[in-house]
Symmetry: C2
């Protein structure tokens, strides 16, 4: 991905069309960009790539008119779009393995490139956890840390409210315009005015369960670290902690009594090395070192298609059946596929890209893929 290049309106429209096209996720997006040099050429290539991957009916390419409509809606709403290569896009987010190629933002964009701490926790949080979270978020806010959260009930709400004055970012699961949850419609509006709201999903999208893990990767992705205030086992907050860890971000957790099941998750995080947090100081002491650490260069896409750009189609045709035979519904690392075969890595990546566009494989965190049965 080329960094820190402002796109023309036309180019940004192509980015939007590409990521909104069928079977194109963030990883595929950046692989296509790397392979074809720009989004426009990638868009042109989509039908043929999907066909090679085994797609029978034509792949749905997002139309220019729909993209224009989306941009117009966001602008009418008072927001704007940011592409991952642009300067206003959060640099920390650009460094994760699967950054959203385009986000919609509304509010004070400068907050996106400040020192951010993500705060997540249970919706049905205890009064104690809410009180502690509010206190910590407020103190962090007073120490120039921007607080990011997900606008949910409970912990999220406490974190946003405490940091409203100092600077807070709400990452929403649906479209940037969709007020969710209803009871936080006012808060969402306030954050649009005083803070900043981010959305990855298209304008007008009603948030659904499957959107939230993707939303959570953005909360941790824009942040230096994530504070998990209260989390029962197998909760969304723990998924966020795992994502944050994979993104190389700091994990902070508030402990709780073993009699409270809502503390099980955070206690377990602490047992596994998360920083135990009782006050803002505990977080600031760690962030002090994280902030002076130079940010590493974005490592997406990690896999190059080589100088040839395009893998030999004949070789791809020979390798495809072999590669498909190695895939199963259990996700496997792409590196492992490369190790287990004699095919050129560029060939394998090309085949996987085509299979994904054809809707036959699914990408997973940790550079893994599985077949869709």
């Amino acid at each position: 991905m080329e960094k820190l290049k402002e796109l023309s309106a036309e180019e940004r429209l192509c980015w939007l069309r590409l990521i909104r096209s069928e079977n194109v996720g963030p990883i595929t997006f950046f692989q296509l960009l790397s392979r074809f040099g720009n989004a426009e050429s990638a868009l042109d290539a989509l039908p043929e790539l999907a066909r090679r991957g085994g797609r029978k009916k034509p792949i749905k390419v997002f139309s220019k008119s729909r993209a224009e409509m989306e941009v117009q809606s966001i602008e009418a709403f008072g927001g704007s779009m940011l592409a991952a290569c642009e300067t206003d896009y959060p640099l920390a987010l650009a460094m994760i393995a699967d950054p959203p190629p385009v986000i919609a933002v509304k509010g004070h964009k400068h907050l996106l490139n400040q020192d951010i701490l993500g705060v997540v926790g249970a919706r049905n949080a205890s009064a104690a956890a809410i009180r502690v979270t509010h206190k910590i978020a407020k103190e962090l806010s007073e120490n120039n840390i921007v607080i990011a959260s997900g606008l949910a009930r409970g912990i999220d709400t406490a974190a946003h409210q405490a940091a409203l004055f100092g600077g807070t970012i709400a990452v929403v699961g649906g479209g940037i315009d969709y007020p969710y949850p209803r009871e936080n419609a006012n808060l969402q509006q306030q954050i649009c005015e005083q803070g900043c709201v981010i959305a990855e999903q298209p304008f007008g999208t009603v948030p659904q369960a499957r959107h939230f893990p993707r939303r959570n990767r953005i909360i941790s992705g824009i942040s230096l670290g994530v504070l998990i205030a209260e989390a029962s086992p197998r909760s969304g907050s723990l998924i966020t902690a795992r994502l944050a860890l994979e993104q190389g971000r700091e994990i902070f957790a508030i402990p709780g009594s073993p009699v409270d099941p809502r503390a099980k998750g955070t206690n377990n995080l602490i047992r596994n090395g998360a920083t135990l947090v009782e006050s803002a100081e505990d977080i600031l002491a760690v962030l002090k070192y994280v902030r002076i650490r130079p940010l590493k260069e974005p490592d997406i896409p990690t896999q190059s298609f080589g100088h040839s750009g395009l893998a030999d189609e004949q070789e791809a045709n020979m390798a495809r059946p072999h590669l498909i035979s190695l895939l199963s519904p259990t996700p496997i690392e792409i590196d492992e596929l490369i190790r287990q075969t004699d095919w050129h890595p560029a060939t394998i990546l090309t085949i996987l890209l085509e299979l994904e566009l054809a809707g036959r494989i699914e990408r997973h965190i940790g550079n893994r893929v599985s077949i869709i049965e």
Copy 2:
């Protein structure tokens, strides 16, 4: 200290007299034993040593008749005395820097050399902490871990009660016969019958505040590790944790919400490396490895007086004023005194021994001494 040697009644009486004599603490006791070969010779030397240390009025040597009376009282009470060199004496306790040379015990002595976990915590513990402690102690008990505690209200009581059937040891602050606190008189009686009670203080001693830190070193001293269930900052439980750490024992702590000041101490222990405990399993997982580790040899007394046994008195007379000038009310490590002077270590140890017997210096944890102004 010679290990695993049974004493005659006569020898045990001499041990008792020596430790009950004025200004003789456990460390001095074992230094005297090392220097004079046996307690009887050390008793004979006490007056001269104290005089050399600057003692004006004669040092009070504990009389044989009083020692006999104490032994008789303990036996009439149904208890017995154990010297640190004897097989029934808890081996783990013999390995600390300052084991009690003689303890009174009542009950099932075999518990003293089993796998023991110490449990300490606040007297005004929360209902949640008491509930968790009871559950954990019960489960450990069912897994053949003997539970040691201090018979206090709150956490101690919960731990003892939970482990009454499986095996529990009460280390009391006063005499073995003295029921304290009153409301636990029945529990103390039950533990005498079903478990084991240990006392370092003389028979009939009314427990006083200063006895409790010394009592706590025994709780951790007989244990493989100590569980701190709930502890406010600067509480006795935290002192026990520190003692346990200095004794090389495992530290376990139950986390709690930052809003509860009684969890500050345990959360801080966890932050500093204590094992976070939510259930008995968390403790068993650690003890599994501690139990198979060979017990190290007792390292008391660490300092040898050399082959000559007695340091040259003339040299001691020359060194004494210099050494005293180096001492202050701030404790200093004995090793540091040895480093800062040219005097032979045996000379320095002799002078310190004499000063202590004269009541002019005080020993502290960490092999340190301070002058008594």
